[in-house]
């Protein structure tokens, strides 16, 4: 019969020699299991004289504790090594490409339009749309164009028939709005406009135009400039400065073109964005708006111009060719 001490020594030796968790589990069964060697040794107790039993029991329990303790320690040591091996085995190359989901995105002009709308919405402007095939009356007459005026030279127009045409400016919405709504009002629209122009890098027969206007009491050039300044800074950046210069459009008086300058673009040169001014009193009077009480401003700008300036896009035609190598560069336009 083994003495408890001899059993302990044998067990600890075997534990030291175990090379993996499975062997440890076997040793645990062999020594500490229900019919393991320590249990067997404990059964020897019955054959001992009474006076020896307590001390023998105590010695066996010490052996059990020592074996269990060493088993646990050894298991922890082995687990560290084994997991290290597992991690090596399971290692992946994290530099491989991700597993792509299919993600759609909006056209760069749509994203620009969305941002323009956000700015005007935040200023309380109502977004409306009007037809792309427009009556001459709204495109020209209602905007104070005198018949046969040379200003019409600038806009060689696609006529459908004698009266209807592809609108040359989204400003054509103004007459339609004034027929239905009374001031105070703040309205804007964004849409396609058409000019019978030869197509090249900076000219197209189609482009998108914003037209925004408000009529209220106390609206003057300073309010126009304030609104445009806020708009330009929201769209392009806080470091944008705005410049007004006299210009002529039949539907505004005074009329200006506005340019922006930012250290980010074109070395801070002035870049013209669009036309603006106070809504011509002839128009207000035509729609029976009290010009003693109300005045208004209006301004327009080309949507394409904004990404062209912001990203240095060199050719207007890219916007309608739908080459995904172009479009995907702008899949997530950030706000400046």
């Amino acid at each position: 019969m083994n003495t408890p001490e001899a059993l302990q020594s044998a067990a600890l030796d075997e534990i030291e020699l175990a090379s993996g968790s499975p062997q440890l589990r076997e040793l645990e069964l062999k020594y500490l299991g229900k019919s393991g060697q320590i249990m067997l040794l404990m059964r020897e107790l019955a054959h001992l004289p009474n006076e020896e039993r307590p001390s023998f029991g105590q010695r066996v329990n010490q052996v059990r504790a020592a074996v269990q303790g060493r088993l646990d320690e050894r298991a922890a040591e082995l687990r560290v090594n084994e997991q290290a091996a597992q991690f090596t085995r399971e290692q992946i190359d994290v530099t491989m490409p991700g597993r792509p989901m299919r993600v759609g995105y909006e056209h760069v002009l749509q994203q620009t339009i969305n941002r323009i709308k956000d700015v005007f919405h935040s200023l309380g402007f109502l977004y409306l749309e009007s037809p792309e095939v427009e009556h001459f009356r709204y495109n020209f007459d209602a905007l104070n164009y005198p018949p046969d005026h040379p200003a019409m030279d600038d806009q060689d127009t696609f006529y459908i028939d004698d009266e209807w045409l592809l609108r040359t400016q989204s400003t054509a919405i103004q007459g339609r709005v004034f027929e239905r709504m009374a001031p105070p009002l703040r309205v804007f629209t964004i849409g396609r406009t058409f000019r019978n122009e030869a197509v090249d890098r900076t000219h197209g027969h189609t482009f998108h135009q914003v037209d925004a206007f408000m009529i209220d009491e106390g609206i003057g050039m300073a309010e126009l400039k304030g609104t445009l300044g806020l708009f330009a800074r929201a769209m392009i950046g806080e470091d944008v400065t705005l410049r007004f210069r006299p210009d002529f459009f039949p539907f505004v008086e005074p009329g200006v073109d506005y340019a922006i300058s930012s250290p980010k673009f074109a070395g801070g040169r002035w870049l013209e964005l669009g036309g603006a001014g106070l809504i011509h009193p002839n128009i207000l009077e035509h729609y029976e708006i009290d010009t003693q009480r109300f005045s208004g401003f209006a301004f327009g700008l080309g949507v394409e111009r904004i990404p062209m300036l912001a990203y240095g896009i060199e050719d207007l035609r890219h916007f309608y060719e739908n080459d995904l190598r172009f479009l995907e560069q702008f899949r997530n336009l950030a706000t400046p």
Partner: protein, 680 residues
Amino acid sequence: MKFPYLMLRDFVETRLDADEVGELLTMAGFELEGIDSVEGDAVLDIKVMSNRGDGLSVFGLAREVLAKDSEAAPTDLYKRACLRFPAESDHLVADGAIRIETPDCTRYAYRVFAGTTNAVAPDLIQQRLRQAGMRPISLLVDLTNYVMLEVGQPLHAFDFNLLKGETIVVRRAAAGETLTTLDGVLHDLRDGQMMICDLDRPIAAAGIMGGAETEVSATTTRVLLESAHFESRSVRRTRKQLGLNTEASYRFERSVDPEGVVGALNRFAELLALGGGGFEPEPGVLDVYPSPPPIRTVKVRHSRAEALLGITLTPSESAGYLKRLGFGVEGDGEPYSVTIPTWRPDVVREEDVVEEIGRIYGFDRIPERLPRGTTIRGGTQGALKTVDELRSQVVRAGYIQILSHTLRDLHALDARGERIGPRQPAGPDTAYLRNSLLPGLAEAFRRNGGRDLHLFEIGKVFAKGPGQGGSPVIELRKLAAVTQGLLYPPARPKEQPPLADFFSLKAGLHAVLNRCELSPTTSGDERYHPGRAAAILEPSSKSVLGYIGQIHPNAAAAAGLPADLCMAEIDLDGLEGSTTKVHYRPVSRNPAVRRDITVTIAKAVPYADLERALRLATGQVLERLWLVDLYEGPGVEDGEHAVTFGLQLRKFGENFTDEEANLVRDVAVKALFELGGKQR
């Protein structure tokens, strides 16, 4: 307008160099297009606004420089130009020598010069004309051009000896008359075109171009120098009809100062004398002026000017600005009275005068201020908001938005119906208004490799009208998509992602289609595969909003597209009023039970009918219903298939017992039997 900087200096003493003058004019509304060095001198190219004909002369631009640059001073030449070059010569009564027979000629004057040799103009004149982009021709012609450049008044020299009779008649052409213009082109004149005529025939197109038959030449010894004023509309109409565009017509179409007519003749005589050419003026200017412009005054309120400009300034400041521009200012009350100079027909009402004050004050100095006023509900509302929402939902489903041209040529995927387009398109590319978004999508699909693409567009398409308000077109907002190939790119070798088909497109367009019903028909639309397409119906009216389906193989071949491409096009305007309602149900905390049922049934019975029958039969306790298996083959008759549904059942507040669940299952099976299903 191009002119050498030194010509401006003839009129203005200023310390500003050419660049600075360009900047000043730009900020006054006369935009500098560029400065070139021509023959050693700076030449400014200025873009003149279409309503500012007075800016089409060096004198007119000098006025702007003097108004904006308070340190500049007028030269003697400028002062005499203001006085219209007063001359000693008598003002003769025309006495029948000029007959104006049309109201489109407001003034006609001429002076006769006699001499020997129409040789060459002085070098300086020739050089400056070249710098301004004009070709020196002869002494007489060059001086007319030079005076026009200086003061903006077009002049024309006739060889007086070649005129029939000594009478000038300004009248409308009669049909059948002809005129050969200086450029050698013979024009058949139309009734109503304003002509300068002698007693026999037209000798010049009024305000546009002289005739070849009376052109001055090297042998000319007697010259009739015309200086006149014509109505812009008449000049514009005639020059368009004749297909001409000249320095003269350009100015008359905008505006020319009728009061400067005689001054220009006098300036011509001055330059002729200075140049020492062999011509001397005969005494007297003949001048017929049937309709001098009325003296116009505008009442201006100083407070109004301040309010519209958003600035404060003293009344004397604004009066100063106006006077420097040649306006008369009378009184200092509220309102005060402003007399409009004859060269400014564009200034008509108070706001126009306010603009002048602002221009000289400087629009760049106006402060920025945000509007105060009535708060109104803004934003995008109603149907327009729906369009925005649908767009972002289709994007979220993985489709890329494109924008294609409204104007285009014909395409195999055009919709049916009579086409409409501009009556004068720029070319075949702009001949038609699109009547479908599918052609643009097809082109984008091909451009980007022609496979594995999922694209959509939202935009207007046009059908032949009559439309709203008598429009020749019906304008419809559509959403269309094309999809084909791998639904997502394979990330690793040998991976095979699923392919796009009718059902992936149907799911992708769920945001739109869940407001609609599908009906298995293409209504004969030859763009869609008749067995794999459906009409999209507005649920209440059952009107067709569009189609969804696989492309017809013939259309695919014609359009150069793969035959497994699927596409859809939907009228979004027709969706208006459709809304998706939320029916909230509290979430049950009781466990669910599942029952599967299998029946064999004719394949002709649509899945939707089975689903509808199951939902109707099981009611509220049916939490989820899905297709578990679809089988055809051995053990199932031809034309039939075995369908297995999974039913997830749950009650609120109590648990399902097995018996209850079986009861629901039996009801469900019975519902399918009623549709022709049989026990498997």
